[in-house]
Point group: C2
Chain length 493, copies 2
């Protein structure tokens, strides 16, 4: 599949065009409502050369859509905030909820193409970036999203002609900036980069359609009919109960060593010894936090553990002297109805830190393979798929930012948990901390135990390993957590 | 109330400090949970000179808070996107939901002070800005938010000492930038501006506490005890069912002329005549849209009207040739559970356009005084208050951006509505457009009629007047809407 193989002489007859288009518009209008009822999310992205007709094409598509059911994203240069995050972050936030259509006028590809083009040898880095994009698109597709990608192709000569035409029109002349001309002069350099991306990201779950866009009518009919045909097929399949199969890659390799969990560590530590160590470590943490901030390195710290294992107290000690403007705690509760309308990872990615920030997650995305697995909020294929998705997400964050991820499992014994539950139940200042749900979860200890084992084995990767915090002695646990964070952060500096 | 009247020699004894602080922290922890259950939102903002201890104070406060129930906002320079919106826009988006605490390290005041300071004669513009801030704070307070404002005061000499100390410490030296020193040199110029703001914005509903911050411990106790005392009082009042009374300003003057509604206009217009006019006007609109975009002038177009009055078709015709990247349609449905946790205006303000964009609201904030009034989703004091709040909001948008607001009421007769309902019910392509709710609403025609009358009378202001679109003839309606938008936009150029 290559732009150069397109037959650019194709045109559409004006009369047929009007008739065909009217018919397609009607079908798309109906389809939008059907897909809404079927809760199928759709991403349509229109890429192409400057002056190839992206805006016009988008315009024609939205003519047949109910504004209540779609959003249009004009992708321009990223904002300051977006620039502080990995490449795909802002696109994750723009994914459509179930039953909605997200239309992109330019997309992640435009930025990827522009950036790769500027590298002297882009082949290798294009490969890595295409792989990241494929992960992103595959995860959305596995979650049920239909993804349609279009590239509008015109020749260099035609582009020149159109840009000159725009320059002659006083209403559009100002749009033709020097940087647009500059891109035009690099047309021939861009071509192989675009082809490279198209080749590597033309997948079954997110296929490309290359569009002959020399003739306006031909381009619009091509885009419209592809959209309508694909969506009709998908809608039909859903109606007949043939949900699209997940395209799960091979499972990622878990770390070879099984992760052993212990509830207490070797050696004795008195509360006083720990407190003394803590004070020193907290000051050390303060200094390291400054350095991370100064060098704009982001850090994620995820806390998981048994109920009453001491996550809250541990976090408080960790952050004791940190500058509150440079870290934040993200408490994770059950997803809201709104959040459930999206891919489950989106609500976590949203809170990922910018360079220099520390994001502390009080429970995390691992809920997918813990509580959602045990309580059956996620289906088995869903949580099985999650291990790989999570590994990919963490890998993407680390590779794109140069940051770090610390993952804590706070382990306590069943006896210690019981003791703490009883203590909470009788202390008027702590009674709010214990709920019926805690007691119910406790009864499912064995099921959770299995889920924890599998999680640790399958997601303790070399780049983002789990650390077991032996937490029967909560003072020791606090020291160990702080030491671990400091060691990880030092490695990043 | 003035910074210069503070007794800066105040200190707190170290031993008492520890004891008092521990006690206050415990009370604040309990209070947070009580306020959450009582659904009372809280804003605490800490302002002060550079190096006066803002970060440290914030740090002490969050020590006693459960991270699940508060958010911390470190206010720095606005992002590109925020810069494109009115001054208070980004703060509207950061207001806390019911039962939560939003803590601001610096706030709308820092930016206001910095900007006013730079004006040669700031007295007058400070007055205007303070009035806008008061409106913002009063609207939140009327909605139940507790607002606490602190300014940490130190002398110029002390500030110099602290900045020099920071410069000597390698960990903090880089924080002391030339612009920080520059602000230090303008200490004396800032003082009257700060006092000016404090004086004009020290209100019953959002009082200032000026804090002697030469002594760290004294400052922290002062802030902490004020917070705890105020919140305990408010929580007590809520428990005893003494809700804080709204501080509604005098009602804004409605336009003197009563707005007459007609369902059809004088003169005859055939469908063909209208269509011809429409084509010309759509081209004209395209050109004006370009100019607005180029000059970064934002425009709001709000559509209200009877069910089946033709809002959707009208919007489609209005946008027929507009560049889709420069406008968006915001369809307004009933608020979600999440949206209900905030001030009702927040979800509209969120979608207000940046300079150069056109935001078209398909139904709007006027729902508060229409459907929410008639269906009793809002209490009478709430919707009565809304007229003034809405006028303030529109005024703020216009004054801060130089943009425009067009408000359409689409009027049809009861007979015409019935005809259209019946048509929809029998057309398979349109049947989805008609619901049982439409028929129920129709039965309440008279109640809606009264609400519309009052809305038009009380919110048709000189700066943002209503335009009645006679819509029995939908073709005429489309022509009139387009003409109105074009005329308004031309006035802005």
């Amino acid at each position: 599949m290559s732009l150069e193989k397109l037959d650019l002489t194709k045109t559409a007859d004006a009369e047929t065009y009007q008739k065909d288009l009217a018919h397609l518009k009607e079908r798309l209008g109906v389809l939008q409502r059907t897909l809404r009822d079927q809760k199928i999310p759709v991403i349509i992205l229109i890429e192409g050369w400057n002056a190839s007709g992206i805006t016009m094409t988008v315009h024609e598509i939205i003519q047949s859509l109910d504004p209540r059911g779609f959003s249009l994203h004009a992708i321009e240069r990223p904002t300051d905030e977006e620039r502080g995050h990995p490449f795909l972050w802002r696109f994750w936030l723009r994914t459509p909820p179930r039953g909605r259509i997200a239309l992109f006028a330019r997309s992640w590809y435009s930025r990827a193409i522009t950036e790769e083009m500027q590298k002297p040898s882009w082949e290798k880095s294009l490969k890595g970036r295409a792989a990241r994009i494929n992960n992103f698109e595959r995860q959305l597709a596995d979650d049920g999203t239909v993804i349609l990608k279009f590239f509008l192709h015109i020749t260099k000569e035609e582009q020149k002609r159109r840009l000159e035409e725009r320059e002659r029109n006083p209403l559009t002349a100002w749009l033709v900036t020097p940087s647009i001309w500059n891109l035009h002069h690099h047309y021939d350099d861009s071509l192989p980069v675009i082809d490279g991306f198209v080749e590597r990201t033309d997948t079954e779950y997110a296929p490309w359609t290359l569009v002959e866009a020399m003739d306006r009518n031909n381009a619009i009919l091509r885009v419209y009919s592809t959209i309508v045909r694909t969506l009709e097929k998908r809608s039909e399949a859903a109606r007949e109960g043939r949900p699209r199969k997940g395209k799960q890659k091979d499972l990622p390799k878990p770390s070879r060593t099984v992760v052993h969990r212990k509830t207490s560590a070797n050696g004795e530590f008195t509360k006083e010894e720990c407190q003394e160590q803590l004070s020193t470590l907290q000051i050390e943490m303060l200094e390291i936090h400054y350095l991370l901030f100064k060098r704009k390195i982001p850090l994620i710290i995820a806390y998981e553990g048994w109920d009453a294992a001491g996550k809250g107290g541990n976090i408080t000690r960790l952050t004791r002297f940190m500058n509150p403007l440079g870290y934040y705690v993200v408490p994770i509760a059950a997803p809201t109805e709104h959040e459930k309308e999206y891919h489950y990872l989106r609500r976590f990615i949203k809170h990922f830190p910018r360079g220099g920030d520390i994001a502390i997650f009080d429970r995390s995305w691992y809920g997918r393979v813990l509580v959602e697995r045990v309580e059956k909020f996620a289906s088995e294929p869903e949580w099985q798929r999650a291990y790989g998705e999570i590994n990919e997400m963490e890998d993407d964050f680390l590779a794109s930012t140069g940051g770090g991820i610390v993952k804590f499992w706070l382990e306590i014994s069943q006896e210690e948990q019981l003791r703490r539950f009883q203590q909470r139940a009788t202390d008027p200042l702590k009674v709010y901390k214990i709920t019926d749900e805690d007691w119910r979860n406790r009864e499912k200890w064995d099921k959770y135990d299995d889920a924890v084992d599998e999680m640790l084995a399958r997601t303790s990767t070399e780049i983002a390993p789990w650390t077991i915090i032996e937490s029967d002695n909560k003072w020791f646990a606090r020291v160990k957590a702080l030491k671990t964070v400091i060691a990880t952060a030092e490695n990043l500096l």
